[in-house]
């Protein structure tokens, strides 16, 4: 009994913090329909700012800076105000210009903001943890209930503060005129503007309050667990999202309820399941996924929130941008359109260029980099099928990639080598068999994962796929017998063909190139047919597509299957190329990175993914030569974030967007261009 009692107490404390975070999250979502991925970073900044204000001095950017040394309540207030202001600033710079943009743009931007803030925090406060200063109440002895349930005094303070804050916010929303204005803007922004509500200011107020609350949750969390750290916001951010969805996104009491339930479920799950602590995070994601499937609107939410806009996730040109910028893009567009028109010939030229590069580049190092470009380009192409062409925002794509890599690694190393003692050199041909096999397995997996998402739209779809991706990752980490857990699988043999070793960087580059040709070829054939037309039709207007006889549910699953196949297929090569894989290779960050690459290059084109991959990976390597980057390596990611924000505001359709793909089979037009493969453009490094 005291075991259960302590678990419940733990769950309540955690639940109070989650509830507060979820409320902050849902407040912003309700008003702006934005899943703010940067939420976790505001949470984190609240902790850092409070800690910094409480210390007599703190190390910023490597220098010791004297600090006021306030007491906790004063420092907390300062941190809340500062973070609230930051939230308003972020909205003004990054979100406001995208208020009327297609759905994916603000999402990408919020992810980018998250990356920027995290990198900046790491640069300013350092990579190490910062001890949260002691507050005098924390030195009091713990409160003991029923002789066995321990709660510290600060736990009680945290719970009381969270409760007070939530009640205060509810009263504010219900009674004050600003609160009414927020509710009106949440219902219908257009109507609210028409009745004279200054929506932009209301939104700014929502961000200020939401960010302030996020900071409060963050500092309470830091106080409870004793520290601040630049990546402390990531998981709590996802938990806040889960709790908000659980309660019904947009509903404040729902979020509070959701947070509480989540805290209790985590504590009880961790306490009663075998090795529960390691599986704890999976519990929240399973809850999330199950909930979205059974009741997407959550406990207290409204069903109509499960709807998406129509059309490409990132289409159309931006309204912003100086004349010279537009002129520049217009030139690029002209060039791309011309090369797209030249079609297959341009593709062959570029392929020849790539081959030439592969033959002439002397440095093994650069060959490995270019191989990475090709791998990431292929993966991004696979993601492009479902996100770009079919318009389904899949944030769990990385799971298919993982399935492919793990299938081949488990077979080669864990089963055949370790169990049966078969030397990799004897079964070299298995790699070639694994390529389509893993593709099929991953495709099947994708269909299974995709099926429950069919009735979801937009943000909900993204969240559910994100949940699936995370579950797969946690399983990979914890199912040690199958995957060797966090230690990963080593000694995966390099590719081999009839005894000729293909392990050298140059050989691997050409192998990758050959696979890329196959992948792009297959994707192009599928897209340039009635299947591709069906996908784009579903993306543009699902109902109209249905009315034309397209069985949309089935075709969505086909899109999952196709992208899954590519993920699994490439995953096999990835494993044999890296010769070592671990669950860390398949994190949410990788998925986000792939998404960013596709966005960078241009959704729904063949060129886009490779353009994005090339730019990113080459930049990553070149930046290493800058001494500033060597001192602060995480700034590379901050830069990626900034580039993406700029892109979303000035060029949301991506760089290569005008390399538009024709959706008809080549050679089927009367008097058409000579039939050949569809184009794939790749620039030489």
């Amino acid at each position: 009994m005291d075991y259960l009692g302590q678990l419940l107490a733990n769950g309540l404390v955690l639940g109070a913090i989650y509830a507060l975070a979820a409320v902050a999250f849902t407040l912003v979502y309700g008003v702006v329909r934005l899943v703010n991925f940067a939420f976790g970073e505001l949470f984190m900044l609240g902790a850092f700012l409070t800690a910094s204000l409480m210390l007599p001095e703190v190390r910023l950017l490597g220098m010791i800076v004297p600090m006021p040394g306030f007491s906790l309540p004063v420092a907390a207030l300062g941190a809340i105000v500062l973070t609230g202001a930051l939230g308003v600033l972020v909205d003004r710079i990054a979100y406001r210009p995208l208020r009327n943009a297609p759905r994916l743009a603000p999402l990408i931007t919020s992810i980018a903001v998250s990356v920027v803030l995290q990198s900046l925090a790491q640069t300013i406060w350092g990579a190490e943890e910062l001890r949260f200063p002691e507050f005098h109440l924390a030195t009091l002895p713990p409160v003991v209930l029923f002789d066995s349930i321990y709660l510290s005094v600060m736990d009680l303070v945290v719970m009381a503060t969270a409760l007070a804050a939530m009640l205060g916010l509810s009263a504010f929303i219900a009674r004050s005129s600003l609160g009414r204005a927020m509710r009106a803007s949440a219902e219908d922004q257009m109507a609210a503007t028409l009745v004279g509500i200054p929506v932009n200011r209301v939104v700014a107020a929502a961000f200020a309050i939401g960010s302030g609350f996020a900071a409060l949750a963050g500092l309470l969390y830091a106080q409870t667990y004793g520290f601040a750290h630049s990546n402390m916001g990531f998981l709590p951010g996802l938990k806040a999202l889960t709790a908000a969805v659980l309660g019904g996104i947009g509903s404040i009491p729902g979020a509070a309820l959701g947070g509480l339930i989540l805290g209790l479920v985590e504590a009880l799950g961790a306490g009663y399941l075998p090795n529960g602590t390691a599986w704890k995070d999976a519990i929240s994601f399973v809850l999330l996924v199950g909930l979205l499937y059974l009741r997407p609107q959550g406990l207290l939410g409204k069903p109509e929130l499960n709807s998406a806009g129509r059309g490409s996730l990132l289409g159309g040109a931006s309204e912003f941008g100086a004349a010279w910028l537009r002129a520049g893009f217009a030139k690029v567009d002209g060039l791309l359109a011309k090369s797209a028109a030249a079609g297959p010939r341009a593709a062959l030229v570029l392929l020849a260029l790539a081959v030439l590069v592969g033959l002439l580049v002397p440095s093994d190092y650069w060959l490995r980099i270019l191989t990475m470009v090709v791998i990431y380009g292929m993966l991004a192409s696979g993601l492009n099928v479902i996100v770009g062409f079919a318009g389904l925002l899949d944030l769990g794509f990385v799971a298919f990639w993982a399935v492919g890599s793990y299938l081949t690694s488990i077979l080669f190393v864990l089963v055949l080598k370790d169990q049966f003692g078969v030397a990799p050199a004897d079964i070299w041909w298995l790699l070639y068999l694994n390529l389509p096999l893993a593709g099929l397995l991953a495709a099947g997996f994708a269909v299974i994962l995709g099926t429950p998402t069919l009735r979801l739209r937009g943000d909900y779809l993204a969240i559910m796929t994100l949940g699936f991706g995370e579950i797969v990752r946690v399983v990979a980490i914890n199912w040690m017998d199958l995957t060797n857990g966090p230690m990963g699988i080593r000694g995966i043999p390099a590719p081999n063909l009839f005894g000729i070793a293909l392990g050298s960087p140059r050989a691997q580059f050409f192998f990758a190139l050959a696979l890329a040709v196959l992948v792009v070829f297959a994707i192009a054939r599928l897209v340039r047919s009635y299947v591709g037309r069906a996908w784009v039709a579903i993306r543009e207007d699902e109902e109209a597509a249905e009315a034309m006889g397209v069985p949309t549910a089935r075709y969505k699953l086909y899109a999952y299957a196709a992208s899954g196949f590519v993920g699994g297929f490439v995953g096999v090569f990835y494993a044999h190329s890296q010769q070592y894989i671990s669950p860390l290779n398949f994190s949410l960050f990788e998925n986000i990175l792939l998404l960013m690459l596709v966005v960078l290059g241009g959704l729904g084109t063949f060129v886009g993914p490779f353009v994005g991959a090339l730019i990113w990976i080459v930049f990553l390597q070149l930046a290493l030569d800058l001494p500033f980057v060597q001192a602060y390596p995480e700034t590379r990611f901050a830069l990626l974030g900034v580039v993406l924000i700029v892109l979303m505001v000035f060029r949301p359709q991506g760089l290569a967007a005008s390399a538009r793909v024709a959706l008809t089979m080549p050679g089927a037009r009367p008097g058409a261009l000579p039939g050949a493969r569809a184009g794939r453009a790749k620039e030489a490094a």
């Binding site: 961790a270 602590t277 966090p486 230690m487 010769q579």
Partner: protein, 373 residues
């Protein structure tokens, strides 16, 4: 870069012409570790120790040493790329560093192919023993260290009921296993074991389980970040057991993060700043003066690795210009290179022998534990 090479060459030629025939070599150390992210502390500290060693070696004159540092961000993929980069760079003579065994393991095949010697200072996984004729480390393996702690706990401290917690990776699993086996062999009972993910913050529920098992000691196979939190949250739950941990907890940050909760925690390490011997005295003073803090074991190991490199270079230089191959051979021939973690000799499997200190947290500082084995 090119100018320095030309200048060095000219100096070299000039010196060649002189009767003393001393060849001044420029030794470039490719240093790689996790220098950003959660566990940058290990890499950054190794670097600090290595910097001091390089400074000392450069001051000694003769050869010049420089460090080319690359962050692997704790990612195996980066590790492989960085290994290739060092291999391709003809100037790099030796690779040092490595915070994570999994990354070192991923990179070793690359170094094997290009025959570049590696001297690592923080990777303790037993899987790295005998992994390549080019790989050595001056830190003891988990198998050895964990077992030593297990013996210490059961025999020296006489603990009977121990709950084992470990982080879920190579390091934690390896050290916990070695500890448990040794402790059980010496008569202690492992009343439970659970793993946690690196980076976890909330241990309350885990510790609630631990509390129910009523252990007299808790072994934490992991890094200082988690060890501090576990200690604090355990005390807040009313757990009074003795805390034991590893070299991963041997870091001054442990006390900053854990405060009064970590008092009495016993860890092990190859270096203790409190133990000032003539050998360590100058290192301590210089380190404190340069970095304004006490050196950690990682800094000490980094420093010793630098010293070992210096000795190897001198040995190799006797037979001609220093190459990767000659340096590798020289490493194998080193005997008892003096250092702050004790004398260094590499055995055939690339490991070294050494002694462990058992250190206790007392009044917010590490000191020698009253009972030593």
């Amino acid at each position: 870069m090119t100018m320095t090479r030309i200048a060095a060459a000219m100096v070299g030629i000039g010196l060649l012409a002189s009767p003393t025939m001393v060849r001044a070599e420029e030794i470039t150390i490719g240093f790689t570790a996790a220098l950003s992210g959660d566990f940058a502390a290990f890499g950054l500290n190794m670097r600090k120790g290595l910097d001091l060693a390089v400074e000392a070696l450069n001051k000694k004159g003769g050869n010049t040493y420089k460090i080319d540092a690359v962050d692997d961000r704790g990612e195996a993929r980066e590790g492989v790329l960085i290994a290739q980069r060092f291999c391709s760079d003809k100037n790099v003579d030796v690779v040092m560093g490595y915070s994570f065994s999994s990354i070192a393991l991923a990179a070793v095949p690359v170094f094997n192919e290009c025959k570049l010697p590696v001297l690592a200072s923080a990777v303790t996984s037993p899987a790295l023993s005998n992994v390549s004729p080019y790989f050595r480390r001056n830190v003891l393996t988990d198998a050895v260290q964990g077992a030593m702690m297990g013996d210490y706990a059961a025999k020296t401290l006489g603990l009977k009921q121990i709950y084992v917690l470990n982080q879920q990776d190579d390091y934690g699993i390896g050290v916990a296993k070695a500890f448990s086996e040794a402790a059980e062999k010496d008569g202690a009972k492992i009343v439970g074991s659970e793993s946690y993910l690196l980076g976890s913050k909330d241990f309350r529920t885990l510790l609630t389980k631990v509390r129910a098992a009523k252990p007299d000691a808790i072994f934490i196979g992991g890094f200082y970040t988690e060890a501090a939190k576990i200690a604090e949250q355990a005390r807040a739950l009313g757990i009074k057991a003795q805390f034991l941990s590893t070299d991963g907890a041997l870091n001054v940050e442990l006390m900053k993060l854990g405060r009064s909760a970590v008092e009495g925690m016993i860890v092990y390490g190859m270096f203790d700043p409190a133990v000032a011997t003539p050998a360590t005295e100058s290192f301590l003073t210089t380190y404190k003066a340069t970095f304004k803090e006490d050196p950690s074991a990682w800094a000490a190991l980094g420093y010793d690795a630098g010293m070992a490199l210096g000795a190897a270079v001198e040995l190799a230089a006797k037979d001609g210009p220093v190459t990767r191959e000659s340096l590798n051979t020289a490493f194998g021939k080193l005997k008892d290179v003096p250092g702050v973690t004790g004398p260094t000799t590499f055995d055939a499997s690339g490991d070294r022998a050494g002694a462990l200190y058992f250190l206790e947290v007392k009044d917010g500082k590490f000191g020698l534990a009253p009972k030593q084995p």
